[in-house]
Structure formats: structure tokens, C-alpha cells
Symmetry: D2
Subunit: 184 residues, 4 copies
Amino acid sequence: MTDTAEFPPESERPAGWLRADQIASARLWLPILYVDAVPVRVDDSGDVVAVGLLLRVTPEGVMSRALVSGRVMFHERVRDALVRHIEKDLGPMALPQIPASPQPFTVAEYLPTPGVTPYHDPRQHAVSLAYVVPVAGDCRPQQDALDLAWITPEQACEQDVQLEMNGGQGLLLRQAMAHVGRMP
Amino acid sequence: MTDTAEFPPESERPAGWLRADQIASARLWLPILYVDAVPVRVDDSGDVVAVGLLLRVTPEGVMSRALVSGRVMFHERVRDALVRHIEKDLGPMALPQIPASPQPFTVAEYLPTPGVTPYHDPRQHAVSLAYVVPVAGDCRPQQDALDLAWITPEQACEQDVQLEMNGGQGLLLRQAMAHVGRMP
Amino acid sequence: MTDTAEFPPESERPAGWLRADQIASARLWLPILYVDAVPVRVDDSGDVVAVGLLLRVTPEGVMSRALVSGRVMFHERVRDALVRHIEKDLGPMALPQIPASPQPFTVAEYLPTPGVTPYHDPRQHAVSLAYVVPVAGDCRPQQDALDLAWITPEQACEQDVQLEMNGGQGLLLRQAMAHVGRMP
Amino acid sequence: MTDTAEFPPESERPAGWLRADQIASARLWLPILYVDAVPVRVDDSGDVVAVGLLLRVTPEGVMSRALVSGRVMFHERVRDALVRHIEKDLGPMALPQIPASPQPFTVAEYLPTPGVTPYHDPRQHAVSLAYVVPVAGDCRPQQDALDLAWITPEQACEQDVQLEMNGGQGLLLRQAMAHVGRMP
């Protein structure tokens, strides 16, 4: 649920962006709508052969892995939010195949209180529509991400990868692999 | 997208409810998370035999039909919001069978500008997770609803019923019937 | 549910194909597994902008429209059956984006007795897993199809198109449009 | 994929049942349509609190756990096959809540050759539509099952339970838990 592009300089903000104090206030008393995208490579039969995870270093200097994730803005369609966040994190040449249907494979409820659901975000109550998104093009990590690592579905479910994911995104990744029939 | 129970007297409000000015403000710059429930009667094989629609009279004196619909509150799970809104609209004895999976059959995006999506809400940008919910018990319309009418899936898709639904809920109802295999 | 490529000359048959008498016999006492694919064109946000329908002339000289449809063979994965039938009907350059998940948007049960379900196939009891499949390449109708017509989602749901589809495929097409949020 | 009720004495067979030699023959050259049901107990919010697994002893004397599973017969609807197999395995008082939608949470492809998919059935190529089915009533194991054990979703995903399941049903069970948001 890292949203590092949430607050660019005000002059660069498109319509629909909030001031930092507005979103900080809303986060105290409203669920915030998010999208989570699991970027995958597929073969000619649509079978998932690799999963892309963003590598970041936390302020504490710990390596972490993350899905593509971000907020849906006012007056933005869910599918446009998916395009925007994938472009933000994977670059403009990723060529994502956004699902034709708005039906997500699951809904992840990140609550500020741990333990109510398997997902957790200390900053807010985020409700995220989760999609598996095949990307056909060239992916380059953007912004604060160090790297984009492509791993197999089996590796994605292994303990060491799971431990490097935060807030329940490791679970969400395994749910994605279960949905595409590639959980080991 | 009628939310008649949105603002009960302040003394009766549970934690998580907003002041009217807070939600009015947020509606100007954030998508608001909703749930839509299509209440149905099913037979022993799970086949939908009837759909329940709320009958209301608009302030202009026009009869309208509506699905069960309402906002998800801060720190409330989607499944608990479904229970709360079904109880609010159908009464405490409806015995809803809330889906085990959080996967909605679709996501309805009600935008304040008509025509961007097939759904429209002049007050706000509401993003609604839509579920078909079998109810096994006794349903009594509550609050401002005049009646709860049970009609067949075929009738639900007919022109005259569709014309009495607002904001794209007629389409959402037909999508629900398509999902359960009962669109004529 | 036209399967014109079901019985090529025996010498051309790959492993897994049945003799005509074997499949004729099985059709009397077993449900036969099918796939139905709704070929679509999507924009950069994944929104469906066109639907492809095969045009055929029935033995009685009547024009009909059809989805891509066909049997799943012994030892063939569902996703490989989708690839094969799309290639069979749309040609080898269609570049279909087979869904990553095996979850169909619905299951169409074509029974030999009309009226049990909304689908009907006088020859057999076919149970078909239905998928929406974006195609990115050049589509050329193959075999017995006269043409492949691209129409809008709205046109796909209109009466005159619906009347040219058989066995409940018109309904299945509308269910597909409901699933992708493009039913008028 | 145990189908112990597949061949009752001929006099007891309803229409649609096959002779043993017919099904044995078809299994050599056709995919056979199955349903898999994961019986669950849910709370008032629809959240899964327990999973029911059948306990059996294999001919080799090994304890195994299984989902409710069985073939779809000729001219039988998928939802009626679900009712029949749940009644067969859990008894007539189980009160299953068959899903209103025919959309399965996944499709499990049990191939006679191991390794092509994660599912395996040495006897046949079975393609199974998989559903999570809440049961509200009294469940009594029938036929050859020794017991029906209710365990938590977390226990269902543990190594020792998984090892007692065959043919990939352990994976299918974990996919079901992923789908309902209850995978640990």
C-alpha cells in the first residue's frame, strides 16, 4: 500500500488530487478506495509464467517487495486508476492488459487495526479492488522502486518472498496465484 | 443510491458515522465506497425465483424502485455493511445469506457526471460493490420505503420496472440477473 | 454451438479426436464439455469497444450469427481448447489474450430438451465454460464462416442481432456484455 | 474424486446413469464433467468459520480426507448435481445453500497424466466446476465415509491436512479458502 506518488508538487497535480491535509483528514473517518494490481507475464495460452514484484527499501533500511497499488481518485474510473498506477510503477511501455470486466478476483480490506481482517494499513482504512494484470511490454521500475523482480508463481508463494511483503500483500499475492490456478 | 438512514439524530449514531458536513465535503473530492445488494428468493437448487425491490415515492411524488444500497463506514467490513443495510431496509428478520466470498459480481461506478459510466449519482462519486443476496426470512420494508415487492427475474428486466429505477440501478439489476443465469 | 471442424478427414485428426460414432454415442448419455468465447476488441483501459460475431448460412439458407464455440478434447486443457477454437474460427493471426484465470464468467448448459435452461442444443447436452477473450490481431473467418462482423456492445444486445443467434447464444452474448459492464 | 455411489445396483439407478462399461469406455476418450463442493459453516456475516471434510480409509488402509465431489449426469443441471452429491455425502438434512450463480470459483482439471495441471485422477480426465457451499443443517456422513470433520480454515491449509488429501484436492481446498478470504 505504498503510495509514493500520492503528493507530487502542487503545480504538477492533475484535477482530482487532494491536498495532503484533506486526504489526511478523510483517512480518519472514511474508507479510501484503492486498486491492487498483480503484474504477470503469461504464455500464449494465458497461463501465468512470472509475477512482477517491486523492490523497495523502507525508511528503516529494510528491503520490501510490493504489488502495484494506489488510490482511486475522484471522478476516475477503476480501470483508469489501474492504468495510471501501473504506468506510475512500471513505466509507460509496460503495455498492461487491463481486464475487460470490473469484477475483481477479491476485495482486500486494509484496516488500521490489525487482526480484524488479514490486511493492515496503519495509516487508513483502505478497501482495494484486486486484479491480475498481464503486462506484455517493457517494464521499468519508476519513482522510489529499486527494481522490478520477475519470479515464478511458485517462488511468489515461498516463505522468504512472503516475509518481505507488508500489510497482507503477501496473502493477496497468494490469493492471486490461487485465482489463476498457479498456487503450489 | 438512497441512503435515508445516513443521518439519524446525533445521539443515536454509532462510532464511524460522520457529521453531515464532513460527508458533504468528502463527496466533493473522494470516491465514496458503497455496497449494492440484490435481495432474492431461491429454491432448493439455488435458482433465483424472485427479486425484492423497495418501493419509494420521490419528493416529486414519483414512484420509484430501488435495490438495497448504502455506504460502507470507517472501520466496517464490506460484509458487515451488507448485513447492516439489508437489516436497515428489509428488517431484522430477513435472514440474509451474505456471500462467503468478498468477490462482487460487478463494481458499479456512480459518477456525478452522467455518461462517463452507465451509472449516475448527482450527489457524489460512489463506487459500489454489488452482490446478489438470498434472503430466507420475513422481509418488512423499513424507514421510508412504502413496500417491498417480490417480482420474477423476467419481470425485473421488463421495461416498466426498469423505467422506475434510477441512476443505473435498473442496469445493475439486469446484470445481477445475467450473473445468476436468469436474464430473459 | 456449431462445430463444423469436429470431423476432419481421419488422416488429419490429432490424438484425442473421436470417431464420429463414438461422439454420437457419448452424446446420448453424457454431458459434453464445451468452451464458448466472446471475441472482443478493447481500448487501452480494457473497455470493450467491439464484439466479433461469425456470420454463417444455415443449411436452410438462413443467415445466423455465432460465438466461437467448440468441444474440449480428451487430455486438453480448457485454455488450450480456447486457443484452438479461436484459431480455428478467427485464423492464426488473431492474437487472443486468453484469460489468466480459469474462472468463466458463466456456465451455459445447452440441453437437448428446450426450456430446462435458457440454452438449447438438439444434438446433445453440452456444458460450456464461457469466457470473454480480447483479440489484438488480424481476424479472418475460417472454414464455413462467411464473415466476421465487428459490432458495438450496444448493437450486440439489439433485437435484430439477437434474433440471428441460436440455441441461447444471444443470451450468452448479453451475459458477456453484462459481465464487462457494457450492456445498454 | 471418489465416486463411491457411481454404480449402485442397476434396479436403483435413476435415468441418466450409465452402465459401468459405458462410463469406462467414455473415460478413455472424453473429458468427464464433475462438480466439487467445499462444504462450509458461515457466521451471520457470511464469514467462513469451519470447513467440512469427509474422512475415508483407502483400500490400502490409509486415512484420507476428501471434498464432496461427483459426476454431472446426462440432462442434469450443474446445480442439481451439487444438491445430489451433497445429499449423497452429507445426508438429506444438510440444508446446503447452493450458489445462485453458476460461476464457479475455479475449474479443476484432473488429468490422467500427472503434472500437466496440479490436479490428477489416474482413472480419467475429469473437469470439475468448484463451488463453496454453506450448509446450515445437520450433516451426517453417508455411504463409505467414516466421518465428517469440521475444521477451521486455518487448519484446512495446514500441512498434515493437506497431506491427507489426494489428486490435488488439497490445493483446491486452499484455493477455496483464498476465494473466501480465509487463507492464513
